[in-house]
């Protein structure tokens, strides 16, 4: 649009006003982006300064670092995964695959890494279950429309906030000293965190329900438990399940990390194997972990789609 096409004063004034407005907005956008770029540059410099190795010093060696990962014999990856004896075995830890076998029944064994993966997944499942069991009642107490008492509501909400924000690693460390280091401490830590995380999502769902069934039950004299059970629960259960499934996905990841800091399971083995530079073992572990997380994600996505339809894929987590 050039000024030649503007005929009347009114149109020109309008165009000027529009131009002023957009130029101001553009200025703010440019300012925001500029600040963000400065912050990014500063933080990059800071991260690089504080790191043991520096980015540009290490960059040419990235591929050297990958070279140990490539095994001499690619079949060793499968052998490591399924604990089959390898011809490369010279009595070192790098290739002692059959040692890890967990015998279940006679000659039938579960390969070590599958057993460890099972531990990690079980930690995630049990802790999600703990989270779900406690989060459901808490979420009813924390919801404004279901619990009229503001003090009770506030206490439960703050408690869940604390559980959510408390670093899991500290809870894990505390309980490692009490119930001994291992998966049980990880379950307690992830479980407590899940109570807070799920509780928050759940009570927000509770606050958005349709209150008419609740009023109907109130009219026929139902008590609090009956109202929650027959008016609220049927409305929210699919969403609760959907969020719980999402939590399982997240907890599998957290439980892997917990493993690396002493929580048992596959994380620990992966950390050892990478720090010692065992190529075949590392690849086997990464492959197993990748496939498991991928399958858990896909299964959970499929189930969520069945439960609540496409909205399961809008913002959540």
């Amino acid at each position: 649009m050039t000024s030649a096409t503007l005929h009347s004063d009114a149109t020109r004034r309008q165009a000027d006003a529009w131009r002023r407005q957009t130029s101001l907005r553009r200025f703010y956008t440019a300012l925001g982006v500029g600040l963000l770029l400065v912050a990014m540059g500063a933080t990059m410099w800071f991260a690089d300064e504080a790191n043991a190795g520096h980015f540009f010093d290490r960059l040419p060696h990235i591929l050297d670092f990958l070279s140990w990962l490539v095994p001499k014999d690619w079949n060793d990856v499968w052998r490591a995964l399924f604990d089959i004896a390898s011809p490369s075995d010279k009595g070192t830890q790098e290739f002692n695959f059959p040692l890890g076998r967990v015998y279940v029944w006679g000659g039938f064994y579960i390969p070590e890494y599958f057993e460890l993966m099972l531990t990690t997944v079980n930690v995630a499942l049990v802790s999600t279950f703990i989270g779900f069991v406690f989060a459901v009642p808490f979420s009813f107490i924390a919801a404004r429309n279901l619990t009229p008492n503001p003090v009770l509501r506030l206490v439960v909400k703050r408690f869940m906030e604390l559980l959510r924000a408390f670093p899991e690693i500290v809870i894990a460390g505390l309980f490692a000293a009490i119930v001994s280091i291992g998966p049980v401490a990880a379950i307690i830590a992830i479980g407590l965190h899940s109570i807070g995380a799920l509780g928050k999502l759940f009570y927000e769902i509770n606050e958005n329900i349709d209150m008419r069934p609740e009023e109907g039950l109130r009219a026929v004299g139902a008590n609090w438990f009956e109202r929650v059970r027959f008016a609220d629960l049927p409305q929210v259960l699919p969403n609760f399940m959907s969020y719980t499934l999402l939590r399982i996905e997240i907890n599998v990841r957290i439980s892997t990390i917990m493993g690396a800091v002493g929580g048992g399971g596959i994380g620990e083995e992966l950390k050892l194997s990478i720090s010692r530079g065992f190529g075949a073992k590392t690849l086997a572990l990464v492959l197993l972990l990748f496939v498991t997380i991928f399958l858990v994600d896909q299964f959970s996505a499929w189930l969520r789609r069945k439960l609540v339809g496409e909205q399961a894929f809008l913002m959540s987590a």
């Binding site: 990014m40 790191n51 924000a165 670093p167 998966p183 987590a317």
Partner: protein, 452 residues
């Protein structure tokens, strides 16, 4: 209601009263399955055994150590003269002379553990412990400590040692040749100045007047700089190191999420089904996002720690790589959910590909993009604490190391409080920004609705 009416209702709504068996019983099946699984988990983790062998009595002890510290003076009785000895590096500094250890005129010592109500008085021949309104005399002359008189339940008599537990306040251990006292104080010891600092042990008023107008304690350095340096380098609390590590955690989350967003942004357009020039490219990119997400943050963290060495660079890179997947996925899903009409409008004016995206698509998705990025930033601030523990920089490793010794719980609590504070602040910043955004989103939707 008569039977006829009942069956009439039943006939009118067959889908409610005659549902297939699996639909009617799925809650029961689900519960049964869960119970079975829990039984299996109980066995798998050998939970009964683990719980039986756990030390729950340690929990209150550890928790009390979060907010308190103790001093452990020891009195040797086999020396010519009884003198209190404090462990090296005790919280009292080099010349401890606390007012709760009293040398009486008759040569005996009194240690007041909780005022006069809980105390111990002793010389080389006998000790008298007072607590809970009871006085317990112990004779030390017979080669081993002997309690003369009845033994209350808070005193335990071992073969060569008598232990009196006084709850939170502390305990007294008496043998023939020494008396060991543990006195517990609420609070954090030497939180501001450690024992090596020239400001140590001075009341706050004196420190302030020294800083404002006192003579230079260390020639050539102003007192303010000296005090700040002493606080920053406090040996016990390591304020400087803790705050630097905390900043690293924040930086890791910020940098990783931001870079992830920058890389995911253009890729998402090629991955979105309705915008991509080629269906194959869309599929490839979507699988790539899945791959980046499924290779866990832990794996990335371990790899980058090996590649770049431990530090925040490794942590940022790990979050960056995971975030390409997560943000790429959410961005492309947001793009697939847009309203196509603005895009068609811009297209009909003859605009080229980039202009169509800029004016037909971006205004609709940018608020959603920013909101999702902020959400990830928030959750990564929490996540960065954990991956730090494997060496990827930040406060995680420091926390983990402080916990491993089981003796430094006050430091752990200090770092936890700081972490909670940081998480709280960033939650609020991100919530505030998102609320602002959702208002613009809301206005946008309202305008759309008004226009019809």
């Amino acid at each position: 209601m008569t039977a006829d009416e009942l069956s009439a209702i039943e006939e009118r709504h067959p889908q409610i009263f005659q549902r297939p068996v699996y639909k009617r019983f799925w809650p029961v099946l689900l519960i049964a399955g869960t119970v079975l699984y829990l039984g299996y988990a109980l066995w798998f983790f050998s939970l009964p055994q683990v719980l039986r062998e756990s030390h729950w009595e340690r929990l209150p002890l550890f928790l009390s150590q979060w907010i308190s510290y103790d001093l452990q003076p020891e009195f040797r009785l086999d020396q010519p003269e009884i003198t209190p000895k404090y462990p090296r590096f005790s919280a009292l500094g080099e010349n401890p002379n606390p007012d709760w250890v009293i040398k009486n005129p008759d040569g005996t010592y009194t240690v007041r553990i909780d005022g006069d109500a809980k105390s111990v008085t002793f010389d080389k021949t006998r000790a008298t412990i007072t607590a809970n309104g009871v006085t317990v005399p112990i004779s030390l002359t017979g080669g081993k400590p002997v309690v003369t008189g009845p033994v209350p339940d808070w005193v335990t008599v071992h073969d060569d040692e008598t232990v009196a537990k006084m709850g939170f306040a502390g305990e007294v251990r008496v043998t023939v040749d020494r008396v060991k006292v543990r006195k517990r104080f609420l609070g954090w010891a030497n939180f501001v100045f450690d024992t090596r600092s020239p400001f140590f042990g001075k009341p706050a008023g004196e420190v302030i007047s020294l800083i404002v107008s006192g003579p230079e304690l260390q020639p050539g350095t102003s007192n303010l700089a000296l005090a700040a340096g002493n606080i920053w380098n406090n040996a016990q609390w390591q304020h400087g190191d803790v705050w630097t590590k905390l900043l690293q955690t924040v930086v890791m989350a910020f940098l990783g999420t931001l870079l992830g967003g920058i890389v995911a942004f253009p890729l998402a357009f090629f991955a979105a089904r309705n915008i991509t020039p080629s269906g194959l490219l869309s599929q490839v990119l979507k699988r790539f996002f899945d791959f980046m997400r499924s290779v866990d943050m832990l794996i990335w963290a371990l790899f980058f720690t090996r590649a770049f060495g431990p530090g925040p660079l490794a942590g940022s890179a790990a979050i960056f790589f995971t975030e390409i997947g997560t943000l790429g996925k959410t961005y492309s899903e947001a793009l697939e959910n847009i309203d196509d009409k603005p895009r068609e409008g811009v297209l009909s004016t003859g605009a080229n590909g980039i202009l169509v995206q800029r004016y037909g698509v971006l205004p609709e998705v940018v608020p959603v993009f920013i909101s999702q990025t902020l959400y990830q930033w928030e959750s990564n601030t929490r996540g960065a604490t954990i991956i730090g523990a494997v060496g990827a920089g930040g406060i995680g490793l420091k926390l983990w190391e402080a916990m491993r010794t089981n003796s430094n719980w006050a430091n752990v609590f200090y770092m936890v409080l700081l972490t909670l504070l940081v998480v709280f602040i960033f939650d609020n910043i991100s919530n505030f920004l998102r609320r602002r955004l959702s208002r613009t989103l809301h206005d946008y939707n309202r305008l759309q609705a008004e226009r019809g």
